[in-house]
């Protein structure tokens, strides 16, 4: 009897021990992942800050890639213009599609659209770039606008996905109250549901913009780049921050690499700020919680 009890106790102890070991292993994996994140961010920060000068944000790269100094002002401006235009294209279409999915769509077509929105998220962005090349660049040449088209396609499904989720979180009581007061469905959607979901929608937009800011591959095939000069006309070839980081990162010029690190730090900074602010909006959102 006592032998059995001892055996059970030993077995239980063994199980508890195994559980503790497993938990420790999981915690270790968790720590490793955080470690990798810290490694990436700290490496970029250390390299970036040692290369970052105030002039970086207001000057263009020097003519000679081996020359020190200069900055990515033209690329930062280019990124803002290209991503801004991409947002102008994708936000209305994205929100309207989301309204359809959340407010009108029932049945097969709606399911199909919803499904392929998810699929579009998974399409390689380099393919998106090649697609825009074939519909636009072949006819009109490389341009910032072509880059915007490509980024709009990257952003569109992200905006649809988050906006649909946010709209669906708006309680039906709001809609019923509005409709009961005699408002049309259009007014209900535009005046009641949309404003209620707005903070959540903005969160989604900011995350989509953050994603677009970092995209490089599709821009290689569309905006091409304009290394040395500031170009404000989206009908012409434009540089972006991401393209300049790419072009300078692969060179052996230490001065170029230094600019690329400063650029990488800037890009990571922009993306992190957008992400953090987006989370702030998400917290403020009444419906999203």
């Amino acid at each position: 009897m006592s032998a059995l009890a001892a055996e059970i106790a030993a077995y239980t102890a063994k199980r508890r021990h195994r559980s503790a070991v497993a938990t420790a292993m999981l915690a270790l994996m968790m720590a490793a992942v955080i470690g990798v994140l810290a490694w990436v961010l700290l490496y970029v920060a250390v390299q970036g800050f040692s290369a970052l000068t105030p002039g970086f944000f207001v000057s263009n790269p020097p003519g000679n890639p081996g020359a020190i100094g200069g900055g990515f002002a033209n690329g930062i401006l280019g990124s803002l213009i290209i991503v801004g235009l991409a947002a102008l294209i994708s936000v209305p279409i994205g929100i309207l599609t989301a309204i359809y999915l959340a407010e009108y769509g029932r049945g097969r077509w709606s399911n199909t659209v919803s499904f392929f929105t998810d699929v579009l998220i998974g399409i390689p962005t380099i393919v998106t770039g090649a697609f825009v090349y074939s519909i636009w660049v072949i006819r009109f040449g490389f341009s910032g606008f072509a880059g915007s088209l490509a980024l709009a396609i990257v952003m569109l499904p992200l905006i649809i996905r988050t906006t649909t989720q946010m709209l669906k979180l708006v309680p039906d009581e709001l809609r019923e109250a509005s409709l009961a007061l005699g408002a049309s469905q259009r007014k209900t959607v535009l005046r009641i549901v949309l404003p209620a979901a707005l903070p959540g929608i903005i969160t989604g937009l900011m995350l989509a913009i953050a994603r677009a800011m970092g995209e490089t591959a599709p821009l290689l095939l569309t905006a091409l780049g304009n290394e040395l000069f500031t170009e404000l006309n989206p009908g012409k070839r434009m540089s972006t921050l991401s393209l300049q980081i790419f072009n300078n990162a692969i060179t052996g010029f230490r001065a170029g690499q230094a600019r690329a690190w400063a650029g990488a730090l800037t890009l990571v900074g922009i993306v992190l700020v957008l992400t953090v602010v987006a989370r702030f909006f998400a917290r403020r959102s009444r419906v999203a919680r």
Binding site: T23, G105, V113, T125, V127, A217
Partner: protein, 332 residues
């Protein structure tokens, strides 16, 4: 609720002209329905346009000749010859698959472990923060991973690569897959970078799946005296296996199409399949990024569109499968 009173105020407030000109309900409905078609039209147009752009090469060399050769030698293209096809793409498909496979082997176990830890083991007040940190990994742009890969990761992987070449690389038969020398730029390095990039995606989906497993199961298991690890294994992990598969395939979809980071560390060797994972290679995405704007040989650009077409098809298939599995799991 203040939202409710807010709502009443809005509804009863007299309207200006602004909303009037939008038109009636029918028009608005038509507009949103029309917009919903954009996604589908875009995907269909992608398939068609890539095929149309690649059509000259396909007509010249034959549809399947691209898939039966692993030799990519644009300089040998001759417009008067249609065979052999100098634009074999098997090695790019191989490169895409092998780098993704390495990424999956490394990322899936860690992602599952991290998701399990966050949902079941981490102190409650840390869970949210830990989730955010893992999500941050997904926010870092691809070009930054590539840059970091060249300067920080490759030197760190060098001893590991050399060790693999000196041990596994010496074993007969399988040694070919690990034979050195390891210079850094390789399938292996690309796979490691991809693993870091897809990990947060897999972890996020797993987290959602683990969080939605029935609490009653967990409570039942705990009541029966199960240790926390047993609860996690039996009541959380086991019922979620399909979902984990879906999450992994979703990560795979991302890995297959990742371009810039891979291009920066894979070594861009296009001629043939490199049998060693420690050697240089190329993926479907990386060859497009590298050669697209400078494709001057006969049928070169068209052949790159063919690569793009197949990449799109592979991505579509993988994503469709993944979404179906995730949706099936969510419906349970």
């Amino acid at each position: 609720m203040s939202a409710q009173s807010d709502l009443t105020a809005r509804v009863t407030r007299p309207r200006g002209r602004v909303t009037q000109w939008v038109g009636g309900d029918g028009l608005f409905r038509a507009v949103v329905t029309l917009c919903s078609a954009v996604v589908l039209v875009t995907i269909v147009a992608m398939v068609i346009f890539l095929l149309v752009q690649g059509f000259d090469a396909i007509r010249h060399y034959g549809f399947f000749s691209f898939l039966t050769s692993a030799r990519w030698a644009p300089s040998e293209a001759d417009p008067t010859q249609s065979s052999p096809n100098p634009y074999g793409i098997l090695q790019f498909i191989y490169g895409t698959l092998i780098t993704s496979l390495i990424a999956m082997l490394l990322a899936v176990p860690v992602a599952v472990a991290v998701a399990l830890y966050i949902t079941n083991f981490a102190p409650l007040r840390l869970r949210r923060g830990l989730s955010s940190l893992v999500d941050l990994l997904a926010a870092v742009p691809s070009v930054v991973y590539g840059f970091w890969g060249i300067f920080a990761l490759i030197p760190a992987l060098k001893p590991i690569g050399d060790f693999l070449a000196a041990t596994l690389g010496k074993i007969p038969i399988i040694g070919v897959a690990f034979s050195g020398p390891y210079f850094g730029y390789s399938y292996f390095t690309a796979g490691v970078v991809l693993a870091i990039m897809v990990l947060p995606i897999i972890a996020a989906v797993c987290r959602e799946i683990f969080a939605t497993t029935a609490t009653s199961w967990k409570e039942a298991a705990t009541a029966l005296g199960a240790t926390p690890w047993e609860v996690a294994r039996v009541a959380v992990y086991r019922p979620s296996r399909t979902g984990i598969l879906g999450a992994s395939i979703l990560g795979l979809g991302r890995a297959l199409g990742e371009t810039i980071a891979v291009t920066m560390v894979i070594g861009n060797s296009v001629l043939a399949i490199n049998k060693s994972i420690l050697g240089q290679g190329a993926t479907m995405a990386s060859v497009i990024a590298n050669e697209f704007t400078e494709a001057t040989e006969p049928f070169h650009l068209q052949a790159l569109f063919v690569v793009g077409f197949w990449l799109l098809i592979v991505a579509l298939i993988v994503n469709v499968i993944a979404r179906r599995i995730v949706a099936a799991q969510a419906a349970r």
